[in-house]
């Protein structure tokens, strides 16, 4: 789950990290009054920042500096309700529903600091760079030596000496080094306490008087850990999420929309990916990834069909079930029952394998619904691709 900048900053502020004053606004009027407060408090300029989950907002015009409350209101009016296109969104962009009005900072130096998981080492890693404000992957490509790292070992977490070491390796000294090291410690505690998968401050600003301020911040939270963070779950903003993926998640289905024409319904994530690959190898294009999981009850299969068929371009469906503990005959019954409640007007290729596959296939054959039955995964993919191209009867 992704958090917005303003949410992430509130979490950091709670943990003692300095962040600029700011106000969330959903209307130009709110933006004006938020900006006015900041100007009254002495800000020379305020930033108007689109609150979207995608990165690269600056490049897409999602961050503007205003010199008056009126100007801030104008920027906010232009952003709110617009579709913001950034290097990390598709060409259609994402809708801006909230802006954050924030006091400008006195920037002497900009750093990058983040914690994320190092999968190879199996532990979190702090990644820092003296090139703040830039995308870290860009820095990794153009100037990898500018990036320094320290691992948070199991049981030990980030130790103070590691944070200090990072600060010195970034070329800092004195108060700025101590401030950055302290911020890294706080960020690592936040990462841990919030079950984050990413905690990023970019840029982390050194001010003219060697203060340290988080000018942008981003937390991604581990979905598996949300059960123990109701306070974070309440921060979820689903406006940028794919509606079908959300609907699938509500039914404990794992669904990802793709661009192709062959709708897939598979049990197991690996087999679902493998099925997509096989469709591709057969010359077709999968319309989605869809894992119905281990249970595959009638209700679940029906939901899966419903979501699958909402994919606009689906012109054939491939059901690929490898029965393990799940019995194929039960799945077959589920499919038939599901089809009584969901209108499916495209060819359906079914491949059942594993436990009670034969019985399952017989059930399908004996039903009113017309299925194209396949034996192997390869055959199933070929038939589905052909069906999607309108050659089902060929």
């Amino acid at each position: 789950m992704k958090l917005h900048e303003y949410q992430s900053k509130a979490l950091l502020r709670d943990r003692g990290v300095a962040v600029p004053e700011g106000h969330v606004a959903t209307t130009a009027e709110e933006a004006r009054s938020g900006a006015a407060k900041l100007f009254d408090a002495g800000s020379a300029r305020v930033a108007v920042k689109a609150q979207v989950h995608a990165g690269g907002r600056g490049k897409g015009g999602g961050i503007k500096l205003a010199s008056s409350a009126d100007e801030a209101a104008q920027f906010a009016a232009a952003m709110l309700g617009s579709q913001l296109v950034t290097p990390q969104t598709g060409p259609e962009g994402v809708a801006v529903n909230q802006v954050y009005i924030e006091a400008g900072a006195d920037i002497a130096n900009e750093l990058y600091v983040a914690l994320t998981l190092d999968r190879g080492r199996g532990c979190p890693v702090v990644i820092a760079s003296a090139e703040g404000g830039m995308d870290i992957e860009e820095v990794a490509d153009t100037n990898p030596d500018a990036i320094v790292r320290e691992h948070c070992e199991p049981g030990w977490g980030l130790r103070s000496f590691q944070a200090t070491r990072l600060a010195y390796r970034l070329g800092l000294t004195g108060k700025a080094a101590r401030g950055v090291a302290a911020t890294m410690m706080k960020l690592s505690h936040a990462y841990r306490d919030l079950d984050a998968s990413l905690a990023e401050i970019n840029p982390l600003v050194i001010t003219g008087d060697d203060g340290v301020i988080a000018l942008d911040a981003k937390f991604d939270i581990d979905d598996n850990a949300l059960y123990r963070h109701p306070e974070l779950t309440a921060l979820r903003d689903t406006s940028e999420e794919e509606p079908l993926e959300m609907e699938a998640a509500e039914h404990s289905l794992s669904y990802v929309a793709l661009d192709g024409t062959v709708g897939c319904m598979v049990n197991g994530a690996g087999l679902a990916m493998g099925t997509m690959d096989e469709i591709s190898n057969a010359g077709g294009f999968p319309a989605n990834f869809l894992d119905v999981g281990g249970g595959a009850s009638v209700e679940r299969v029906a939901s899966a069909f419903r979501i699958l068929m909402k994919g606009e371009r689906v012109s054939a469906v491939l059901i690929n079930i490898f029965g393990g503990i799940v019995r194929c005959d039960r799945v077959a019954k589920g499919v038939i029952e599901a089809l009584n409640t969901v209108a499916v007007d495209v060819p359906i290729v079914v491949r059942l394998q594993g436990t009670n596959a034969k019985e399952g296939r017989e059930i399908l054959r004996g039903s009113d619904v017309e299925f194209i039955v396949a034996e192997t995964l390869h055959e199933a993919a070929e038939k589905a691709v052909a069906a999607a191209s309108g050659q089902a009867e060929a």
């Binding site: 199996g122 990802v256 793709l258 197991g268 096989e278 990834f289 594993g354 995964l377």
Partner: protein, 291 residues
């Protein structure tokens, strides 16, 4: 021969009285697995299926029955603690089936297991089977056949698919291991490759990877360094888009890294027999090994 488990393995099941735990314990027992104990706090003193003693704690189970392998079906909020309990009780192998454990819990768990010398397999995995001897997991036993191919995979049903193909072409398996689909796992492809290399009976390894992480690349580097067995490899997710989690928490192309193409390239360059399609696994293995 085999790796990790065999007919001498003595299994304790943590979460034996839960619905999943009970069902799969029964399945494992029917397969012939030697389930010697179960653990459910508060149910100590009862019997599972009138035969398997249940204990409140793993240490009691280990002390009373000599269990050396734990199969874990404990729900996600308690699973990390359960694995640590198994490690602390001294089981040599903990196989965690549970899906949905928070990643940072697993960071701790893997560190804890390493510090205690307990091997962890999983989490979020189908388990381990040595056909004809011992099934510790949720895989359908009947598709497997005793033989000479080792199988390593990050997924469940795709493994069954691969095993089924092997069995159909007449190639049995020494041991099949589902290492799990999470970002942090106890045992990697590489770890399994090492163990298979030491197993006399294993003549080839089928390795099924998927997008995300760098476990396949690390395995490739290991294979490239004179790995003694032929490796047949498939990487799932060639058609997966970046930034999208493909079911498994660990199956995601993040920051442009972890693509199937990169992994396939690394494995190919390391000398593995990489197939483009999951349908070709069995045929390729037969081609490499001969009938």
């Amino acid at each position: 021969m085999s790796i990790f488990v065999d007919s001498d393995s003595r299994i304790v099941v943590q979460g034996i009285t839960g619905s999943e735990g009970a069902f799969h314990t029964q399945q494992c027992r029917e397969y012939g697995t030697n389930v010697v104990a179960g653990v459910t706090p508060g149910k100590g003193g009862l019997l599972f299926q009138d035969e398997v003693p249940i204990f409140n704690t793993v240490i009691e189970a280990v002390e009373a029955t000599g269990a050396d392998v734990s199969m874990i079906f404990v729900p996600p909020p308690f699973a990390a603690d359960a694995v640590m309990e198994a490690a602390d009780a001294g089981v040599r192998l903990a196989i965690c089936i549970t899906e949905g454990i928070p990643t940072l819990d697993m960071v701790d768990v893997v560190g804890y297991c390493n510090a205690r010398g307990t091997r962890l397999i999983g989490p979020n995995c189908p388990g381990v089977i040595t056909p004809g001897q011992c099934k510790v997991g949720i895989m359908p036993g009947f598709v497997h056949k005793e033989g000479r191919v080792g199988v390593i995979s990050r997924s469940g049903t795709l493994t069954y698919e691969a095993v089924d193909q092997l069995t159909r072409v007449g190639l049995g398996q020494t041991t099949c291991i589902g290492i799990g689909g999470d970002p942090v796992i106890g045992t990697t492809h590489r770890d399994c490759l090492e163990r298979f290399a030491e197993d006399e009976k294993t003549e080839a390894v089928v390795m099924i990877g998927e997008i995300g992480g760098s476990g396949e690349e690390e395995a490739a580097a290991y294979i490239a360094d004179d790995y003694p067995l032929p490796v047949i490899a498939f990487i799932a997710g060639q058609t997966a888009p970046p930034g999208k989690r493909m079911g498994h928490a660990g199956a995601i192309i993040a920051g442009g890294k972890g693509t199937a193409a990169e992994k396939m390239k690394a494995l190919r360059e390391a000398g593995a027999h990489v197939v483009e399609s999951p349908s070709e696994i069995g045929a390729k293995a037969l081609e490499v090994l001969g009938p």
